[in-house]
Chain length 357, copies 2
């Protein structure tokens, strides 16, 4: 291929970029060389009367609250309002195999060499190569150029498992909770760690939704961002909730979750006082939620993400309602989410049966 020809971007027709927003999407200008050939799904939060400007030349569909209500009807109750948790509506309506989601205050980061980082390309690489959740490789991703499995790594585990999730990181403003933001207002992440790694089976992690990609076919129905924001007692735990559920289900189904590269440049710290108000219940609830998720066991016959998720919703209702009534509502919403997912994403079998469930 001649140098002058722009190479076809990876998975151009198999990936949607999902962006939740309340403002004009000027940030896309910076991403133009990397995103312009992909399809965007914009989920407009807040006042549906407001017009969100999208820079010219991008291929997108945009949904505001009226669209969500129209498309989902009563099931729209499972989609959060006035919280970036609404982004998961984009996962629901996507028809692609892969999703990349990014916040509108995230810019293109640079490598130490000064090279601009194509975050999407790295996510795709992460998703297309296997994960190794059953044993730790000390030289990080064994599938990367210049690396491999080290001495003592069992050969039977070297094929790895399919990767469901690629969790990217952030330079500049780190993703801290409100108390840490308050204590360290000036801390910036300047350390570029040149690694991608699999999070081992059985280990939970704090999944941030700012710079995240996943295989929608493998794990989509678990990527529900919960009930946050307007009318809810909690915010800023949408991605955490999705991360705990997703990891537990990936572990059960033998799928991989990676974290590390790519970095984006996170430009703007959110207001720590506002965040504290959103987070404070989560901060003490999570002390009970984490042990719950660490001990969740899914039965063997849960062999699809949907079945796992419904089973998880039952356990949430049974075991977390004592933490707060909110978890009963959340368990209901988890079920509604799966119903909405199946309605908008009928399986080939459903279609051939002519059933619309």
């Amino acid at each position: 291929m001649a140098e002058a020809v722009t190479p076809t971007p990876l998975l151009k027709d198999e990936l949607d970029i999902v962006i939740p927003t309340i403002r004009n999407l000027d940030f896309l200008e910076m991403w133009r060389p990397f995103f312009q050939q992909y399809h965007l799904i914009i989920v407009q939060d807040g006042d549906p009367a407001k017009t969100i400007k999208v820079p010219e030349g991008f291929d997108y569909e945009l949904y505001n609250r009226n669209d969500i209500n129209r498309i989902l009807g009563p099931k729209a109750s499972c989609i959060s309002f006035k919280d970036s948790a609404c982004r998961c509506f984009g996962y629901l309506v996507s028809k692609k195999k892969y999703v990349f989601t990014i916040d509108d205050d995230c810019f293109v980061a640079t490598e130490p060499s000064g090279k601009k980082i194509n975050a999407l390309e790295q996510h795709i690489k992460n998703l297309l190569c296997p994960s190794t959740p059953f044993f730790f490789n000390t030289l990080y991703d064994p599938y990367r150029g210049g690396a491999d499995f080290v001495r003592g790594y069992p050969f039977s585990l070297r094929e790895g498992v399919p990767t469901a999730v690629s969790h990217g990181l952030w330079l500049n403003i780190p993703d801290y909770d409100a108390p840490t933001q308050l204590v360290k207002p000036l801390e910036r992440n300047t350390r570029y760690v040149d690694a991608v790694m699999t999070i081992p089976k059985g280990t939970l992690f704090p999944m941030c939704g700012m710079n995240l990609a996943f295989n929608r076919e493998l794990i989509g129905p678990a990527m529900y961002f919960g009930l946050m924001g307007d009318g809810q007692p909690i915010g800023r735990y949408d991605d955490m909730w999705a991360g705990w559920c997703t990891k537990v289900i990936c572990d059960h189904l033998g799928l991989g979750v990676k974290t590390g590269l790519p970095y984006i440049y996170h430009s703007k710290a959110s207001n720590p006082f506002v965040n504290l108000k959103k987070e404070y219940k989560g901060i003490y609830w999570q002390e009970e939620l984490i042990p719950f998720f660490q001990s969740v066991a899914l039965p063997k016959d849960c062999n699809t993400v949907q079945k796992c998720y419904i089973e998880l919703s039952k356990q949430v209702r049974a075991k977390l309602s004592k933490v707060d009534d909110y978890f009963v509502k959340l368990a209901d919403a988890m079920v509604t989410w799966i119903e909405a997912w199946d309605e908008l994403n009928p399986s080939p079998a459903d279609l051939s049966n002519g059933s619309s469930k």
Copy 2:
């Protein structure tokens, strides 16, 4: 402190550097600025009649096979001969709280900036700050300058647990098994990953003995490098064995294991044909050993490393003898090792009772 004054090195009187060798220790010249103020324990392998030259100015004690036999008597049978596994004799005779062990083909590595890496200093930092085995922190070591726990990390887990092991990595020649060496003879590790991380609870890893530090008080008796080399059916699994045992015991006792920085420069690839001969049994045995270690459960009353290790030896005998008779011998040697450890390292209680066991 004025610039001209050499600062007192960290833990100068609390750390021994253990080096197994069969040759003159010229490699120490390169390490002089970093090691000279520490005490060295040199374990001479092979012919005890040979004289090993140590560069001038180093403070050391040296043990050859005659010394090992004299000091341990019949228990010397647990110390390998003609294999770097003999290094664990140095752990036995050390009287210090910390041990750093390094191979004599490891040189000082450089950071991407060109700065020489003080590997020992980084190991000490790793050992002196806590580990976080119960939940994954996506920004790596939360105790490092410029980093912290990210949003969603439970506050109850932020104190961490004591760190027992610091596992360092290698630039240049990676630590590959013989098959990988044969397939990729020219592969060199040039990727400097600027991270230290805790290996999560419940996850095993391939521990390499080339560049390794540990808290001898916390985990010393588990750092037995097994029966390798002369008269044994296997080699190059000494550190792997120690790593599996150590990790299982650290998990049980709530201790941390870190991996990542510091790097050393590994200068010389060992002969892959010789390695293949040493390793081939290990390569198929490990397919049964890993599941064994992944499912080991230690009873609650195993509340010391010694008790854990004796219990582990029983399980090795009961469950691995079907793999090969070698594991019966190894289980015996594990018990002998603990007897030798207790003899050379009587607890204060033993001393005050006047008992020498």
